[in-house]
């Protein structure tokens, strides 16, 4: 891989790589160690003597217990999962249909519509959250999971469509034509021939959409108000900070446990996730 002496390999590869891994992963280590550290150890000033902040000799599950017994953390976990799954499912159906239509059917304004959907892909949530909050209130969706289930697809569908178009374009036209000659209708050809070929794309879009909706913050922050309705990121933010007091132990435990479902989903589909990420950029 690298020609020349051994020290070159260290200077050009191992040391920079170690630096990157340390920088990128240390906050997670810090999150984990704080979650299991008793309060007495947590709140020691940075310059106190004989204090090692990187390790604990008395690990405790106190913060986790606090989360599940004193807060609505389990409800937040359930809300987040439910919202992420349903909005991902809606977005996949819409994205697959729209991607198929835009990449394989001839109809007027196809180009314009494609561009329009691409533009909505680039609209950040922070541009529209104030008028959207009003609309949600007018539809009587405020403070319900549906306010998020219906709005999350606005940033998931465009990227699912975009990704699926790439996959559908790669399927040879002959495959569909063969099926049609054998008597399949357009609908059947799409459902039984084209979509199965694009399953890897659907998985990529799905896992990417799931992590994006798990990650969403500002809509959930603005649309939800009662503690029992909240998602993990919003619940942790609003219920574990009272005024200026941060409950760091439960906060870090909540951050850790709130990250685990995404991390698990991600670890099963790393390859699909990566192809979704890069596909969503390249189109």
């Amino acid at each position: 891989m690298i020609e020349g002496a051994k020290w070159r390999k260290w200077v050009y590869f191992y040391i920079p790589m170690a630096f990157f891994l340390f920088f990128l992963l240390f906050p997670f280590y810090w999150m984990i160690i704080t979650s299991f550290r008793p309060d007495g150890e947590l709140y020691r000033p940075w310059n106190s003597v004989n204090y090692n902040p990187f390790w604990t000799t008395k690990p405790t599950l106190e913060h986790v217990r606090y989360l599940f017994e004193e807060t609505l953390f389990s409800a937040w976990l359930w809300n987040t999962t439910f919202i992420a799954l349903v909005s991902t499912a809606i977005s996949l159906v819409c994205g697959v249909f729209a991607g198929y239509a835009l990449s394989r059917l001839n109809f007027p304004f196809a180009g314009g519509l494609g561009t329009g959907i691409f533009i909505t892909y680039l609209v950040p949530q922070t541009l529209l959250f104030i008028p959207l909050a009003e609309i949600i209130r007018n539809y009587n969706l405020g403070d319900t999971s549906w306010s998020l289930i219906l709005t999350y697809p606005t940033f998931l569908i465009p990227f699912c469509t975009w990704l699926m178009m790439g996959y559908f374009k790669a399927v040879p036209k002959e495959l569909e034509e063969c099926a049609r000659i054998d008597g399949a209708s357009r609908w059947q050809a799409m459902l039984y021939i084209i979509i199965p070929v694009a399953i890897p794309g659907i998985l990529s879009a799905g896992i990417f959409a799931f992590t994006l909706s798990w990650n969403e913050f500002i809509y959930a922050l603005v649309f939800l108000s009662s503690p029992a309705q909240k998602t993990v990121p919003v619940g942790v933010t609003s219920e574990l900070i009272r005024g200026d007091v941060f409950f760091w132990g439960p906060l870090m435990a909540g951050a850790l446990l709130g990250s685990i479902p995404v991390a698990i989903a991600y670890s099963f589909f790393v390859e699909h996730y990566v192809s979704g990420l890069t596909g969503s950029v390249k189109g």
Binding site: P16, F20, F28, P45, W214, F217, Y273
Partner: protein
């Protein structure tokens, strides 16, 4: 798989419903309806509503009257808004340079063959997939004025004698949020650029090496030009996300100390949701729109140019 499926098609008399689905235009229309309805209802309509809202003096619970450009005039003269605009551009420019530089470096490292490569790549992406708000809390805890592990380390290395109040000083607070944004963005750059690097044929580099090109020359004359299209798209995507960023600042500083670290989105939130001045908040977040539009136009033109080449 395809063969099995085909054998199930025997549909001699087609009902009317199917004839509609046989027409390409009708089928396209039906397939696009759900997407167009959802995007229209929750993107196009709120956009129009936002513009209408921004020219009234509406507050929470009060419909408000038409006031023309009064809100825009007001924010134009608002020193906090001006700081927020300056911060947004500074934040975007500085983080983008670092994300691109570090991301490219990491991509080049990951493009080599080494043991545990797949594993390393999976771990490198973690900052990008873990919910930003949750990981930013870990950073806030690391930057805590009294219990900062960073201060602890610097103190024990003998680099500082007194504490550094990371989030209490305007400049240090800005640096802190910039660091967190770089931390979160580097994996996205690295993995996207790595995908771009993998499409470059190694033979090109080998041929140049045989001709005596130094590693730096090979990078500059072969890798970089071939990587440029991917780089452009990744940078534009990232710029949009960074300009519109909310979560990192909201968690790290909440716009403070003394409104010194606001971005467009956090200030719009503070005015629109915090104080309930809906129309002014809408005007602040819409002030982002011209910049976003410019970037989107550049991106569309660029993609078109690449596609037609």
């Amino acid at each position: 798989m395809a063969v099995e499926a085909i054998s199930t098609f025997n549909t001699p008399p087609q009902p009317r419903r199917h004839r509609v689905l046989e027409d390409e235009r009708w089928l396209a229309f039906l397939l696009l309806v759900p997407t167009v309805v959802l995007l229209g209802l929750f993107i196009a309509y709120p956009f129009v509503r936002g513009i209408l809202l921004s020219v009234t003096n509406s507050r929470v619970g009060v419909a408000g009257d038409f006031v023309g450009f009064a809100n825009y005039y007001k924010i134009w003269n608002d020193s906090i808004f001006r700081t927020a605009v300056y911060n947004t551009f500074l934040y975007t420019a500085v983080t983008t340079v670092f994300k691109l530089g570090l991301g490219l470096w990491l991509a080049l490292l990951l493009n080599r063959n080494f043991r545990g490569k797949a594993f390393t790549r999976a771990f490198v992406l973690l900052p990008f997939i873990i919910p930003t708000v949750l990981s930013t809390f870990a950073w806030r805890w690391m930057f805590d004025p009294t219990f900062s592990v960073i201060n602890w380390t610097l103190y024990h290395l003998g680099l500082i004698t007194g504490r550094i109040n990371w989030l209490g000083d305007p400049d240090l607070a800005m640096i802190s949020i910039i660091v967190v944004n770089i931390w979160r963005g580097v994996p996205f750059f690295a993995i996207s650029l790595l995908a771009g690097l993998q499409t470059i044929s190694p033979e090109l580099n080998e041929a140049a090496a045989i001709d005596g090109a130094k590693p730096w020359q090979r990078f500059w004359h072969i890798t970089w030009p071939l990587l440029l299209p991917v780089t452009m798209v990744v940078v534009l995507f990232s710029v949009i996300q960074t300009l519109a960023d909310f979560q990192i600042v909201y968690v790290m500083t909440g716009g403070g100390p003394a409104n010194a670290t606001h971005l467009f989105a956090t200030y719009a939130y503070q005015i629109g949701v915090g104080t309930g001045l809906l129309s002014e908040g809408a005007a602040i977040s819409l002030a982002m729109f011209p910049v976003l539009l410019l970037i989107v136009v550049i991106q569309l033109l660029y993609i078109r140019r690449v596609e037609t080449r």
